[in-house]
């Protein structure tokens, strides 16, 4: 297990060093990523200066959800590039090589690349989160800090799980299924707002099928102290991020199942 981690860090160390060879390109792309993802928040701000609130939530409160989900997504987006490109590996028959090595395949695929320019989204999510906390005057007890961190990490695991599942489908389809983008990129778009504003079918989908609400909306209720009157029990508000970790573990089981059913394209 420990050896696996050492290997993973060696892998991504190489990836980071290779990206840093093109330093200027890296800086430009990170700034670009910061801007393209940051305009989402500009859009939200524009709407709030016209409407004032959304279902009783202020801009600063929505910003907390926005910050958590963007931090979570940026982490998963940076670490799962290998899974994102996995269908190309299957198509070219390169996956055969990975199977010959005495290490976990998931680890080897994940170690392909750590996409550094995702720091752009991470930074803007963090800025929005800090601005929100400052504006709302949130009193940071150790428990709340831990919950925020757990929500972001749980969310990252959830999105990683989705990318792993998308890659797993390539074992059967050889193509990447773009429709999964609706729950990854579409999920970020959705979770930037509190889930309570949406219609019931979407709320149920993002709670029961894909537990996105458990890593953004439920913890946000507890952090904001809005949980008292809500239908969500406190235990769920505080314990919800665990669902993200569980989702990743389940996705990795599906991945193992996929690996067993892999037949090489033979090219």
């Amino acid at each position: 297990m420990l050896g696996d981690f050492r290997l993973y860090f060696r892998y991504i160390g190489i990836s980071v060093r290779s990206q840093m060879q093109y330093r200027w390109s890296f800086i430009m792309m990170t700034i670009g990523h910061f801007l393209t993802t940051g305009i989402e928040f500009v859009g939200i701000w524009i709407l709030f200066q016209r409407f004032g609130n959304i279902r009783g939530w202020s801009l600063a409160e929505v910003a907390l959800c926005y910050g958590i989900v963007n931090i979570a997504f940026s982490i998963s987006d940076a670490t799962t590039r290998g899974f994102d490109m996995f269908h190309i590996m299957v198509k070219g028959g390169e996956f055969d090589r990975l199977l010959l090595r005495p290490r976990s395949t998931a680890l080897q695929v994940a170690g392909q690349e750590l996409t550094m320019r995702r720091i752009g989204r991470l930074t803007q999510g963090l800025i929005v989160l800090l601005w929100s906390a400052h504006t709302l005057g949130i009193v940071w007890s150790p428990a709340k800090v831990a919950l925020t961190g757990a929500a972001a990490l749980g969310g990252a695991c959830l999105f990683c799980g989705l990318f792993v599942l998308q890659a797993t489908l390539a074992f059967w389809t050889v193509e990447t299924l773009e429709i999964v983008n609706t729950v990854t990129y579409g999920g970020v778009e959705t979770a930037q707002f509190p889930l309570s504003i949406y219609r019931p079918w979407l709320r149920r989908f993002f709670t029961g099928v894909i537990p996105l609400a458990t890593v953004s909306y439920f913890p946000a209720l507890a952090i904001l102290g809005r949980g008292a009157g809500s239908a969500v029990p406190p235990a769920l508000q505080w314990g919800a991020p665990l669902a993200g970790f569980a989702f990743l573990l389940a996705a990795l089981q599906v991945w193992k199942f996929g690996v067993r059913h892999y037949t090489s394209t033979g090219s």
Binding site: G32, I39, E40, I54, E178, T182, G186
Partner: protein
Amino acid sequence: MTPYWAILSARFRMLLQYRAAAAAGFGTQLFWGLIRVMIFEAFYRSTTSAQPMSYQEVVTYIWLGQALLALLPWNYDRDIHALVRSGNVAYELLRPLDLYWHWYARAVAWRVAPAVLRALPMFIVAGLFFGLQAPVSWASFGAWLIALVGALLLSAAITTLVNISLMWTIAGDGIATLVSTLVIILSGMVVPLPFFPDWAQSILNFLPFRGLVDVPFRLYMGHLPPGDIYGLFAHQLGWTLALVAVSHHVLGRGTRRLVVQGG
């Protein structure tokens, strides 16, 4: 004129082959549109103050946006990027054509083909089930069509300028990202322009980007009267011509300093 027309129609027919990608894109955009509609629904239920557009109008605006998303100059042509990187751009220079209009014709085809593939099903599905309304009158419909042509010409001009900027390869990437960011927010794709703060309106009215999304969409729903089309189309064409002139100049400089490696 003929060779440019041939390039345009050949590219167009090639791009129409990507039907599976269009189908996947359709599903994604449908979901995206539903989320946007729900967000606006929640906003409208949260306030009693007067808004610059009605809820129905915003819904129509969102679905038009999802239908015509591919018309926006939001990315650059990877084929041209590859030509510059590999040095094959030299072949482009050898052709007895004006390089600018060659690339412009490519850009027109590149914007129209996917938009045609995606717009039709979106109009049908969103029109039947999700509240996309018909144009308010025949006059509005006509004005919308003219403004769409203007939007296409403008979009192709911006695309071509971004493509030309790729001649300065690595830095060019940054310009492409910056332009697409400006296009997406200032055209009205993220939030309809009437919602922007009042102080920003005169700036938005001056800039070219509203001609891509906001102007045609508001003509469609009668939020802008159809009689305004003359001035609005002139605004689109004026910016197109200005961008064409600038691009010609930049392309001239780019080709003079271009060094193609042998081998």
